[in-house]
């Protein structure tokens, strides 16, 4: 077990290095220099060069990458080209709202997808099964930005129930009810998507498979109540592999958060990522990319590990 953990952690190092290296080179191969965006266009070439030197952009690319990694190991993501503040500080300021959004959306997709999947498996081909399958299917196919606009048309413009922009009413400080109202639509948009459909389908097909196993027939023939058979015997076994799905859903949530935050003007890291990409704020783009990739790698690793913990058949060496 300890060896397995160690090996996985060691494997993650080249993956993360590869990810950061590829993104670093792609970003810096862009024609034109971000220094050009920072100096007055009418200024003389000398001040442009001074700006390039100040940003470290005059060095060869591999040297720049090496310096970036060394600084990162000290926990320093550099300073934003946009406002000159440390990138880490900017990210930390905004990451909590993104995490809140993602966690709430995850709960929504989990708490709807799994029970629906169970019901559908238990009553396969019933009306409920068809309706729930259609519901999950629609979620899988909805373009999230369009779904967001439709919700806005309905709940903001037509009905006037929910605010469409930001996370709090202007001029009002933090207020739990106000915050909740602002987050309802973004959470629905992010939660009702690929992840929900994934959990639903997975639970349904996994339950259908487990229900046919011999030990379920045994449990039934012992005269156990159907409830006990389904929820105690079948469900436990059917849901185990779902743990790995939780880790795999992370990249989707990141992409979703980027779009959702943009549509609803939520000041999280998704919106920050978009702004940074548009303004060529390299250090910020690199930081968000690295953090997101690290979370994805860590999420997959933890999912595999948790799977091994709950399923004694799986042995790590």
């Amino acid at each position: 077990m300890r060896r397995y953990v160690l090996r996985r952690v060691l494997q993650a190092v080249p993956i993360l290095l590869g990810i950061t290296m590829i993104s670093f080179f792609i970003i810096h191969l862009a024609p034109g220099s971000p220094a050009a965006l920072l100096v007055d266009p009418t200024a003389d070439p000398a001040s442009f060069e001074a700006m390039e030197r100040a940003l470290g952009l005059d060095r060869p690319l591999h040297v720049q990458y090496y310096r970036w990694v060394v600084r990162l190991l000290r926990g320093d993501f550099g300073r934003s080209f946009d406002d000159g503040r440390p990138v880490l500080e900017r990210v930390v300021e905004r990451i909590d709202i993104t995490f809140l959004l993602m966690a709430a959306a995850f709960l929504v997709s989990f708490c709807i997808g799994i029970p629906l999947g169970i019901v559908c498996a238990v009553r396969q081909y019933s009306k409920a099964d068809h309706v729930a399958s259609a519901f999950a299917f629609v979620g899988l196919s909805l373009p999230n930005f369009w779904f967001a606009l439709i919700l806005m048309l309905l709940f903001t413009i037509a009905l006037g129930w929910l605010p469409a922009q930001g996370i709090q009413t202007h001029g009002l400080g933090f207020d739990l009810w106000d915050r909740t109202r602002h987050l309802i639509m973004p959470v629905i948009v992010l939660g009702y998507g690929g992840a929900l459909a994934g959990y639903f389908r997975y639970t349904r097909s996994s339950m259908l498979e487990v229900i046919r196993q011999d030990y379920i027939r045994t449990a039934r023939s012992k005269g156990l109540a159907e409830r006990v058979v389904i929820y105690r015997h079948a469900l436990k076994n059917a849901l185990l592999p779902l743990i790995t799905l939780v880790g795999l859903a992370l990249p989707g949530f990141f992409g979703g958060a980027l779009v959702t935050e943009q549509v609803f003007a939520i000041p999280g890291i998704g919106r920050m990522a978009w702004t940074a990409i548009m303004r060529r704020d390299y250090p910020t783009v690199m930081a968000i990319n690295t953090i997101a990739a690290t979370l994805v790698v860590a999420g997959n690793f933890l999912a595999d590990l948790a799977y091994g913990l709950v399923d004694p058949r799986i042995k790590y060496d």
Binding site: S141, P143, L149, I150, L153, F254, G255, L258, N289
Partner: protein
């Protein structure tokens, strides 16, 4: 070299098709999806003949007109007919989906086939590379690359295709790992067939079913990605209409003109849904093991 089929082969061929069709047909929604897709492609191809308007003709006297007889989907901020732009937008959105998936399937199949067939260090290197690409938050990377190299249609297609192949590579590799151990592969090798021939003529055709399913479902994903890019302002650039950039333009007028955003988005939704339905039915029809 042409050769005639034996009766047995013809029978087997027929029954295979019959089985496939009878399984596919059970999914009535997938048939509907197929019909919708055929109609959409026809509409995209014949777009200039289906409408009296030009997708670029500006008519400032008729800005933001609600749907009416002359403009069934209304007009946009420049007075352009939205139905016309949706039809011409279908050309962009549908071809982006197809070409991107073509690139993605080609790359994924090549990498997966080579990794699975040769194994050893080649497999190791290719799969670690796959691990790296799959760990990127895809939309974020695609946005970054497109922002860097410029949002032309070609760049968007290439970027989507070159970033989304890893799941296909894993799928093809898994299929190759089991197929290369089978007798027919051994027989081909014993007969002295060169590696490329074994890979492409003998093993690959047997691994096609999951690839076809993945390709169909990926077209849906690619169309969604392209429209998300366009919506974020980094997709197909105006005035060329794409469903995504029409939404991007329309959101500023959402309070005044609902039709501006509702119709283009509806088209994306219906198209993606159709591809998903067809892909799902294909999975069921091509893979008898998943018989529920």
């Amino acid at each position: 070299m042409a050769r005639t089929m034996t009766l047995a082969e013809a029978e087997r061929d027929l029954s295979w098709r019959a089985i496939f069709w009878s399984r596919f047909r059970r999914h009535r929604l997938a048939i509907a999806g197929l019909v919708v897709l055929v109609l959409l492609y026809a509409a995209a191809i014949f777009a200039p003949h289906l409408t009296a308007h030009s997708p670029y003709a500006i008519d400032l006297g008729n800005r933001l007109e609600p749907p009416c007889a002359t403009h069934p989907m209304g007009t946009d901020f420049f007075g352009r007919d939205i139905l016309t732009r949706v039809l011409f937008g279908a050309r962009i959105s549908l071809s982006v989906g197809f070409v991107a998936v073509g690139i993605m399937i080609t790359a994924g199949t090549l990498i997966g086939a080579i990794a699975g067939f040769y194994g050893g260090w080649i497999d190791n290197v290719l799969m670690r590379f796959t691990d790296i690409v799959i760990s990127f938050p895809a939309l974020f990377l695609i946005l970054t690359v497109v922002a860097v190299i410029g949002p032309s249609i070609f760049n968007i297609i290439a970027t989507i295709g070159l970033i989304s192949w890893p799941p296909v590579a894993r799928l093809v590799r898994a299929a190759f790992l089991s197929l290369k151990e089978q007798d027919f592969t051994e027989a081909a090798r014993a007969l002295g067939a060169p590696d490329p021939k074994i890979i492409f003529r003998h093993i690959l055709p047997n691994a096609m079913a999951p690839i076809i399913v993945a390709a169909t479902l990926s077209v849906a994903g690619a169309i969604l990605t392209e429209s998300a890019l366009s919506y974020l302002g980094l997709g197909v650039q105006p005035p060329t209409p794409s469903w995504g950039n029409m939404l991007f333009e329309g959101r500023d007028y959402i309070r005044r003109a609902w039709w501006y955003t509702v119709y283009p988005g509806l088209l994306i939704f219906v198209t993606v849904m159709s591809f998903n339905l067809v892909g799902d039915a294909l999975r069921d029809a091509l893979d008898p093991r998943l018989d529920h």
